[in-house]
């Protein structure tokens, strides 16, 4: 008994599959070309997925944030990946460069995010080649959201933000594996997001310079790494402007701590002096 991925949500009643009649217009109700994946032939699919998740202990990623301000979009993330309680890497790239003017962030399952962002990058490129213009951020996030919706309930874990700059200006969308796609100005995703929101919401203003905005993002991610055990490593901050994205900074969180809280020399009450040496 093989299981088929449930595409019923994507079937529409008003598009007719028609052949190319010369003007290159295709209307098709075909499912998006998602890869066909092998599914286990067992009676209890969900139980099996739950069991494999515990056994395999996939890498997960954890604090990311992005916000729109008057000069574009700032995107920031930490770089820690954990497998259960073990830190499997402190150098994970959680900000994925989909193309020169669009970034995606990774939170949730590392493999899920890496694979689907790469897949999204391919689809964006194909769109550019077919339509001779770049895809909009709204369009790219919709492509991803539709694919994730078709895998809804199967155990994918993706909490991502698609940030970029297109003809309509800066764009920021939150897309997750439950099928949500939200447009907004300010998002933070991951286990450390609550801590990051505290700092981000307090310091946010729409009119900021790029340096101020980057410092706010850096401070917010640092705060999350300070309090959340599953976040740490390096803080990477990117800025997306009309000319595309640019990496602004990458700082080790351990060093950043002493930058924000320099060591205070404590007054010593009693100096210890060496014992006078007795000459024998």
């Amino acid at each position: 008994m093989a299981m088929k991925v449930d595409m019923s949500a994507l079937e529409t009643n008003f598009s007719i599959p028609c052949l190319d009649d010369g003007d290159g217009m295709h209307l098709s109700a075909d499912s998006p070309d998602v890869p066909s994946m092998v599914l286990p032939t067992c009676a209890d699919f969900d139980g099996f997925q739950a069991a494999t998740k515990d056994m395999v202990k996939n890498k997960r990623g954890t604090t990311t944030l992005a916000f729109i301000f008057d000069k574009g979009v700032i995107v920031a993330a930490d770089s820690r990946a954990s497998m259960g309680g073990y830190i499997s890497s402190q150098t994970v790239r959680k900000i994925i460069e989909i193309n020169p003017y669009m970034l995606g962030t990774m939170a949730g399952g590392a493999a899920d995010c890496q694979f689907w962002h790469r897949n999204l990058g391919n689809k964006c490129r194909l769109h550019e080649l077919s339509n001779k213009r770049r895809i909009s951020i709204a369009g790219a996030s919709k492509l991803l959201a539709n694919i994730l919706y078709s895998y809804r309930g199967m155990g994918l874990s993706i909490g991502t933000m698609i940030a970029g700059f297109d003809e309509k200006g800066p764009g920021l969308y939150y897309v997750d594996s439950e099928g949500a796609r939200l447009v907004g100005n300010r998002f933070s995703v991951g286990s450390g997001s609550l801590y990051a929101y505290g700092i981000l919401d307090e310091g946010y203003r729409f009119n900021m310079s790029v340096e101020e905005a980057a410092e706010l993002a850096r401070r917010a991610i640092y705060g999350a790494t300070f309090r959340d055990a599953a976040s740490g490593g390096c803080v990477s901050v990117y800025h997306v402007g009309p000319d595309g994205w640019k990496k602004l900074s990458g700082d080790d969180v351990g060093e950043l701590h002493y930058h924000y809280y320099p060591v205070q020399k404590t007054p010593v009450e009693q100096e210890m002096t060496d014992a006078p040496s007795t000459s024998a």
């Binding site: 890869p35 994946m37 092998v38 599914l39 286990p40 067992c42 009676a43 209890d44 099996f48 997925q49 494999t52 056994m55 395999v56 202990k57 996939n58 890498k59 770089s79 990946a81 497998m83 073990y86 499997s88 890497s89 402190q90 150098t91 994970v92 790239r93 399952g109 590392a110 493999a111 899920d112 995010c113 890496q114 694979f115 199967m154 155990g155 994918l156 490593g233 390096c234 990477s236 990496k247 602004l248 900074s249 990458g250 700082d251 080790d252």
Partner: protein, 219 residues
């Protein structure tokens, strides 16, 4: 009521260390099930291309299937492109191959080592469903949590995510790296029941691939 339980952990540990112009890939040769040792002489290392070696620990049945799968895909690539796959290309192929079984994973914890197209050592480390990252060194398997802290202590370099970038080349020479790997396996063998018997070390450098075997504790 019979539960669907297709997996088994055969234990063992794999390590890879990359240097300026070499790469060391090593794995023990013990195959176990539960508290039994089934073989003291089972290789976990597969040569996928002339400058690309895969070491995997986990369920050896899935690992055998994965190695065959990759070897076949590499051969198709050679036929289509008239050249052997480079290590970074194989790294992405492995990631995709693992992810295509996202809902019925290969129970394999992989480390891919080799030389990139510039001749520099590269190591790619994976989780079971294909998330991967290029690093300077990595350990996977039952003894990995014992080995990684030692490797971090000896080999940790500034993160590639730092800006401004800092130089991150492992300064060790090839023989120093091989000695470090031997030491690290000797230590893990002391404290991990699934690691031991014999250590297989493969060194890849510009002159080719060289294999060496060291005895480890058999208890």
């Amino acid at each position: 009521m019979a539960r669907f339980d297709p997996y088994e952990n055969n234990g063992g540990t794999c390590v890879a260390v990359a240097g300026a112009d070499y790469c060391v890939v090593a794995a023990d040769t013990r195959l176990s099930v539960g508290y039994s040792i089934l073989s003291r002489d089972h290789s976990k290392i597969a040569q996928l291309a002339d400058k690309c070696v895969l070491a995997s620990s986990g369920f050896q049945g899935d690992i055998k299937a994965l190695q065959k799968n990759l070897a076949a895909k590499e051969l198709i690539y050679e036929h289509n492109h008239n050249k052997k796959m480079s290590c970074p290309a194989m790294a992405q192929l492995l990631s995709n191959t693992l992810y295509y079984k996202r809902f019925f994973p290969y129970y394999a914890f992989n480390v891919l080592g080799g030389l990139d197209s510039e001749g520099k050592g590269c190591v790619f480390t994976y989780d079971a469903v294909g998330s991967y990252e290029r690093t300077g060194y990595s350990a996977q398997g039952t003894g990995s949590t014992l080995m990684m802290p030692v490797l971090d202590n000896q080999l940790k370099s500034p993160s590639p995510l730092l800006l401004p970038a800092r130089d991150a080349v492992t300064p060790l020479s090839e023989s120093e790296a091989v000695d470090l790997v031997k030491d690290v396996f000797a230590s893990a063998t002391e404290r991990d029941i699934y690691t031991g018997d014999r250590l297989e070390i493969v060194v890849i450098n510009s002159s080719g691939t060289h294999r060496e075997y060291i005895e480890l504790r058999k208890d």
